[in-house]
C-alpha cells in the first residue's frame, strides 16, 4: 500500500501553491501543517482526486494490488479506495445518522446487501450513537463525517482539519481512533493543531512556499 506524489504542481485560485512536490507514503498517520493559503488543502484535494494537478502524478498502490492507480486516469477505481472528510461540516439533512450513512453507502456503490452491516460497522468504529443528525454536537458531526469516509473501508483516508471545534475529551477520542485506523491504511491529516496529534503520528510535514519538508529531518 503506497501513495505517491511525483512532481506535483498545482494552483489555487490561479496562484501556484505546490511546485513540484514529490512524496511517497505508506500506511501510517501523516500530518500536514503550514500557514493558511500554503497549499495544505490543495495537496489533500490532489490526493483525493478532486483537484487536477497542473503537472505531475498522484498514484495509489492499493492493499494487495500489483498495479498503481492514477487519480486522474482512472478516477472511479481510485475513489473506490479513498475516504475523504473535508474541513467544512455539511449542513446535514433532518434525518438520523443511520439513514444518512445508508444513503451515502448507496452513493458510494456499496452493494445493497452489505449496506446495513457496513453502516453499523463504521458507526461502531467511530463510537457514534444513532440519533437525529441536527441535534448532534460538533464532535459527533466530525465523527459522522469520518464514519461516512470509512464506509468503503478505504486504503487512503484524507481528513482536513478534523480537530476543529473538538473539546479536549473529543480530541483524545480522535487521537486513538486515528492511531487505530492508521495501522493498516494511509491516513493524511491537515491540521492547524499539530501538537494535538503529533504524539501519535508517524510523520509530520510542513508545507511552505519553499516546498514540503518533513519535520525533524535535516533541512
Amino acid at each position: 500500500m503506497r501513495l505517491t506524489f511525483k512532481d506535483v504542481t498545482a494552483s489555487y485560485n490561479g496562484r501556484p501553491v505546490l511546485a513540484g512536490v514529490s512524496l511517497s507514503l505508506g500506511p501510517g498517520l501523516w500530518l500536514f501543517t503550514g500557514p493558511n493559503g500554503c497549499g495544505k488543502s490543495t495537496l489533500l484535494r490532489c490526493a483525493a482526486g478532486i483537484l487536477r494537478p497542473r503537472s505531475g502524478r498522484v498514484r495509489l498502490l492499493p492493499r494487495d494490488a500489483r498495479e498503481e492507480i492514477d487519480a486522474w486516469d482512472d478516477p472511479t477505481a481510485y475513489r473506490w479506495h479513498l475516504g475523504y472528510a473535508p474541513q467544512e461540516l455539511l449542513d446535514l439533512p433532518e434525518t438520523t445518522a443511520g439513514r444518512y450513512l445508508a444513503y451515502l453507502a448507496a452513493l458510494k456503490g456499496v452493494r445493497p446487501a452489505c449496506r446495513p452491516e457496513r453502516v453499523a460497522a463504521v458507526m461502531a468504529q467511530v463510537s457514534l450513537p444513532d440519533g437525529e443528525v441536527p441535534a448532534f454536537s460538533t464532535g459527533q458531526r466530525r465523527r459522522l463525517a469520518l464514519a461516512a469516509a470509512l464506509l468503503n473501508d478505504p486504503d487512503l483516508l484524507i481528513l482536513d482539519e478534523p480537530t476543529q471545534g473538538l473539546d479536549p475529551d473529543e480530541l483524545v477520542r480522535l487521537r486513538l481512533l486515528l492511531v487505530e485506523l492508521a495501522a493498516d491504511r494511509i491516513v493524511l491529516v491537515a491540521t492547524h493543531l499539530p501538537e494535538a496529534l503529533s504524539g501519535c503520528a508517524d510523520g509530520h510535514y510542513t508545507i511552505t512556499a519553499e516546498g514540503v519538508n518533513r519535520v525533524g529531518d535535516p533541512a
Binding site: G34, Q164, E170, E180, A183, H192, A196
Partner: protein, 290 residues
C-alpha cells in the same frame, strides 16, 4: 478591577440549565475558560456582555452591577464572539469607523482610535483593502480591533483561535497578552495549549458548574503521579482500550507506546511521566480510574 459572579444560574425557556449556581472571581490579566462543548462557556460570556439575562445571581464587573446598570457595563466591555460577520465590501478602516459610530464614539475620537487600533492589530498596511479578501487571522485581528473601540477595561473573547494557523495563533495570543496588562481578558477556548501559554489563571466549567479554578500549573497537578508511559504489543491495543484510560498512543514497530491516566501503575509496567495541562484537565473531568 475584577469580575465577580455569585450563585449565577441561567435556565433557558426549554428547561436547560446552562449555568448552575456558578460562583467565580475573574482577576485582572488573561483568564482562560475551559470546558467541554455545551458546558455553558458561551452562555456565561453572553451574560457578561449583556446579551443575555441570568435567571438568578449577582454579577459585578469592575465594581458595576451588571444587572442594575447594563448600559454602564456596555461602556467598559468589549466582545469578540465566536461567529463574527463582516461587510465584505467595506475596507478594514470603513468597517471600524462604522463600528465606532455604532458604539457611539464621538466623531472627533473615531478617526484617532481607528488609526491607533489598526496599528495595534497590525492591519494598518491593509486598512484600505476590502475585508472580504482577508485571511482568517486578519479577520480575527479586525474583530479584536472592533472589540477594543472605546478602550474597554474588560475584553471577552470566545474561541478566538479556531481556524487560525499556528503562526497566526501565536501572533493573536501575543496580541492578547500585550492587551492584558491593565485589563481583564476572558478567553474561552478548546485549545489547551492557548491557555497554557497565555493565561495566568483559568476556570474549568462543566454542565454549568465550576469544576476548577486556579493556575495552569495547579490544573496540570491534578494528574500528578497519575500519568504513565506504557509499551504494549500493538495487537493488545484494542483489548486494553476498554480497561485503561489511554490519552495518547504511538505505534513503534510492532509495539504501541501508550500514555495512560491511572491512579496506579498500569499493569505494573508503566514509567511515570510529568503531567501536562491536558492530562490535568482530563483527570479533573472524569476522576482518574483506580
Amino acid at each position: 478591577m475584577e469580575i465577580r459572579l455569585e450563585e449565577v444560574t441561567k435556565t433557558y425557556s426549554g428547561g436547560v440549565r446552562a449555568l448552575d449556581d456558578l460562583t467565580l472571581t475573574i482577576p485582572r490579566g488573561m483568564f482562560g475558560l475551559l470546558g467541554p462543548n455545551g458546558a455553558g462557556k458561551t452562555t456565561l460570556m453572553r451574560i457578561l456582555v449583556t446579551l443575555l439575562e441570568p435567571t438568578a445571581g449577582r454579577i459585578t464587573i469592575a465594581g458595576i452591577d451588571r444587572l442594575r446598570e447594563p448600559h454602564r457595563v456596555r461602556q467598559i466591555i468589549g466582545y469578540l464572539p465566536q461567529e463574527f460577520g463582516f461587510y465584505r465590501r467595506l475596507t478594514a478602516r470603513e468597517y471600524l469607523e462604522f463600528a465606532a459610530g455604532m458604539k457611539g464614539l464621538p466623531p472627533a475620537q473615531r478617526r484617532r482610535q481607528v488609526d491607533e487600533l489598526l496599528v495595534r492589530v497590525n492591519l494598518d498596511r491593509d486598512a484600505r483593502r476590502p475585508v472580504g479578501g482577508f485571511s482568517g487571522g486578519m479577520k480575527r485581528r479586525l474583530g479584536i480591533a472592533q472589540a477594543l473601540l472605546g478602550d474597554p477595561r474588560v475584553l471577552v473573547v470566545d474561541e478566538p483561535t479556531a481556524g487560525l494557523d499556528p503562526e497566526e495563533r501565536i501572533r493573536f495570543r501575543n496580541l492578547l497578552t500585550e492587551l492584558a496588562g491593565d485589563r481583564v481578558i476572558l478567553l474561552s477556548t478548546h485549545i489547551v495549549a492557548d491557555v497554557e501559554s497565555a493565561c495566568s489563571a483559568l476556570a474549568v466549567i462543566d454542565r454549568g458548574r465550576l469544576r476548577f479554578t486556579g493556575s495552569p500549573g495547579e490544573l496540570a497537578r491534578q494528574a500528578e503521579g497519575r500519568v504513565w508511559q506504557l509499551t504494549v504489543p500493538a495487537r493488545d491495543f484494542e483489548r486494553l482500550r476498554g480497561g485503561l484510560r489511554i490519552v495518547g498512543a504511538r505505534r513503534v514497530g510492532d509495539d504501541m507506546e501508550l500514555r495512560v491516566l491511572s491512579a496506579e501503575n498500569p499493569l505494573g509496567q508503566g514509567t511515570p511521566l510529568a503531567p501536562t495541562l491536558e492530562d490535568g484537565y482530563l483527570a479533573l473531568m472524569e476522576g482518574v480510574p483506580a
